[in-house]
Symmetry: C2
Subunit: 526 residues, 2 copies
């Protein structure tokens, strides 16, 4: 997340089996240190799974015409790197060399016309095409599970900021642009998209749009949905270009059909996004709450105040202990405000006042806590991979619910997942919760689970935990996903969440736009 | 817009031919006074069209089964009142008694099951059903133009606030609830929906949803789209109920399919909406700008500052003269901030500072101007009806465009409409502009046109003006409608604005949800 993103990317290698940069994976020493940190909480078997060796792959089963073939790669490393997303269950499978059905080919279009050519061929030949941005899906969104041959469509060749409208504060960004690259391109204009999902370094603008990504800002226009001015989408039925206007009341929003369509209704090649001046004024605080219920009420008060903090991250006691080294059984709230135009100290002061009314205590030493969370945040997936090698089952899931529903949902999720996580070791799973986003009508709780694993059974253990979590969330009125998308892993609960007539409409729209059914089959519409 | 909405409604009668309450139509004396005000600007023929007498209507051509018939009215007044919306061209036609094809029946469902019964019968019998909230459409949205028999589905019997969740700040509001009634129901809870379109008194919650209404707040969450938590919609293919959560990333948003669907994809029977505490802190100012271009730059600076004024209404010189009695050739900007939680004086001061940097001059005597605009705003349609009786062609249209596009768009619209408005009197039309809403990436300009009419030719004159306006807006990158919806009158430009693949998807969704094609035929999808 620094200015060297582009330059560094040219020199550094992405991991084919784990998160992010290959050279940032924890080494043996770091894993040993991690093991010492974890062992007080969870039994470890003392093993460390080795970094995997790239397995041999069967020969590709596809032979596209020359024009398309020229865009494709078929080497084992490229195919393996495009076989899965980067969920825990993906990393565990790759650690074991499990590559049951990697893509036969990976296509790298450089132009919109290349995308058209790939889709034309695929539709005619009936070849499933899975659009692939940065490949950071944690819900099986880029993993074809149909068994037959398929093509992964890597869009990172459609990269760069094509145009900046400084007057209207908008930028035309190509779909395959990684987060750091688009920020690098906007920085000389004094502008920022100000959209920082946890995957920022390794995910793309088009991926954010296709999955309705949530940035890390707690309130306000934090979802990519709200930052979009216009979209350009290649569908098998033609190219859709929406009008670039700040708002329109002309029928249902065209953009909202493709936002969240996860590659099933077309390939987003570029979009105009609203950008902002870079923040210059900042103020932050951290507060301690002895009672979690008080902290929740304080956050609700802040969320309903109209103050719109940039950060409003409530850590429950276990999250505070594991994530912020605060082992006193209290909850921690990280608050921050920022603006490109005016001082925000008064806003922070009012938010702190609201928290004090709910027995929140500002902490002297908290500046570090507040400042360092971002580093921990972006580094977490590397730790996750280290834990996976140590045999720990570790994963996150998230939801959003109303304030009225939260208390019961939180208690039920923690209880159900801890119980479902009692593996043969006898240890219950650890479940922590933080709020990533808060709205006037409810929070977006984000849960992290740590459970004692058993070598070879990790995926099954996680799937059981996930089933427990998903069922309890649905039963308590939460959405199956606030920002992780649906992919293939959330389908059972998504089917229950979406209104049946909407499923009919979506299916009809899909058939109209992708009559051959080749676009990311198995996602959203099984 | 006062607390007596409900009580008053029981005693007062709605006009069947003009805007709002029958007893608020301008009387002859008021029309004479209006004529004196207008005559310096536009030639008048000295006539005053009389208040029309309800014409005889042909007998209804529909005979639904008893259960549905019991919900229907067929008296001439009810049918006439449901024949059109309340655009200028509607009022002019009604002033002349032009009722070519009024609805044969008007159904008044009291329950969701009643709606299901009406749609079941209509789908089976192939009878067009036009959902009708308050009937304030200005784009032909509630006027069936197919020629055959049809039914108007008046939803105002589905009325009231069914539930209030004070913790999550949300309310379950039935679709047929008028603005004042829902505010009356929320007031005892200290809450407000804070959504005030100009039609507030006479339009319904369901109508706002179906047309993507814009409230009168200039910035922030002013569109009804952003205030919706969940929807319930009766479609011929089943009932759609979305999940009540503050946010979700589960596929394309189901609610966004029905928002703006204008009755073509289902009947919105109720919805959960985000409500707020009633504002307690307020601050406002009015500023004079000698140069309109300076004023536009100042507003852009405020819109891009993140200050989020509740009101940021820029009046161009002609609008300031006709609407705010400021005949000095300068533009006026009305600024206001409000909050339920904290003082907003510092926000106002910063906004004024931004305006001063663009040569804005705060006005001493401006408090009245700023305070009175709302009264003028809600009373405007009554004046419009008076002008129509005086023979003036008077109407409004609106758009939204980027800041970069605004200057050229504004100049071109004013020129084209003034020219197109040179009727046989030789007088060009007067065209005024104000900003109703402003966004970081562009304004929503709202134009009012006054042209010398000719008795009997008013509709044709207006249609020519509208064609000129629509063509110029489209040519300059503006949306054909920012908050007036598409209806039937905006179809030619809507077809050009929406991406063709989206039209395919929408058509397919329509066929899936309304296979008999009975829901508001002729709107959105001709």
């Amino acid at each position: 997340m620094n200015g060297d993103g582009t330059r560094a990317a040219a020199e550094r290698e992405r991991s084919w089996w784990g998160w992010g940069w290959a050279d940032q994976a924890l080494d043996e020493q770091a894993c040993a240190k991690l093991a010492r940190r974890v062992s007080p909480f969870l039994p470890l078997d003392g093993d460390l799974a080795p970094v995997p060796v790239l397995p041999e792959l069967p020969a590709p089963r596809l032979a596209p015409p020359t024009a398309v073939a020229a865009l494709c790669r078929a080497d084992a490393r490229t195919r393996a790197a495009h076989a899965y997303g980067r969920a825990y269950r993906d990393v565990v499978r790759l650690l074991r060399g499990v590559l049951d059905n990697p893509p036969d080919l990976v296509a790298y279009p450089r132009t919109e016309q290349d995308v058209v050519a790939v889709l034309d061929w695929a539709a005619g030949a009936g070849v499933p095409v899975v659009p692939f941005g940065g490949g950071t899906s944690v819900v099986g969104g880029v993993e074809y599970r149909g068994g037959g041959p398929w093509l992964s469509l890597d869009l990172t060749g459609l990269s760069g900021v094509a145009e900046v409208d400084e007057v209207s504060r908008a930028a035309l960004i190509r779909g395959g642009t990684f987060g750091p690259d688009l920020e690098d391109a906007l920085r000389p204009h004094g502008l920022t998209l100000r959209h920082f999902p946890q995957s920022f370094e390794f995910s793309t603008f088009g991926g954010w749009l296709a999955t309705r990504a949530g940035g890390h800002y707690a309130t306000g226009y934090t979802h990519i949905d709200d930052l979009v001015e216009a979209l350009r989408v290649v569908t098998p039925a033609g190219i859709a270009q929406s009008l670039r206007v700040p708002a329109s009341g002309a029928g249902p929003s065209p953009d909202r059909l493709w936002l969240g369509s996860e590659g099933t209704l077309g390939v987003i090649t570029e979009g105009w996004a609203r950008v902002q001046r870079r923040p210059e004024f900042r103020a932050g605080a951290a507060l301690r709450f002895d009672a979690y219920a008080d902290a929740v009420q304080a956050v609700r008060a802040v969320a309903q105040s109209g103050l719109r903090p940039a950060n409003c991250r409530l850590l429950d006691p276990l999250e505070a202990m594991l994530g912020a080294a605060a082992a006193d059984g209290a909850s921690r709230l990280l608050l921050a405000f920022e603006s490109a135009d005016h001082p925000v100290d008064a806003l922070l002061a009012r938010a702190v006042e609201l928290c004090r009314a709910h027995r929140g205590v500002p902490e002297e030493a908290a500046a570090g806590t507040a400042g360092q969370w971002r580093e921990t945040f972006v580094g977490a997936p590397y730790l996750r991979d280290g834990l996976a090698r140590l045999g720990v089952v570790v994963e996150t899931f998230e939801t959003a619910c109303t304030w009225a529903a939260f208390e019961a949902l939180h208690a039920a999720v923690v209880a159900a997942v801890a119980t479902a996580g009692v593996t043969e070791t006898g240890h219950p799973a650890l479940v922590t919760c933080r709020f990533t986003h808060v709205y006037p009508d409810g929070p977006a709780p984000y849960f992290t689970v740590y459970a004692a694993g058993r070598r070879g059974a990790e995926v099954a253990i996680w799937d059981a935990l996930k089933r427990a979590a998903g069922d309890v969330i649905a039963a308590h009125g939460g959405t199956i996903t606030h920002h992780h998308a649906v992919g293939r892993d959330h389908l059972p609960w998504y089917a229950g969440q979406r209104p049946e007539p909407f499923a009919l409409a979506l299916r009809a729209a899909k058939t109209a736009l992708d009559p051959a059914g080749v676009l990311n089959p198995g996602v959203l519409l099984p």
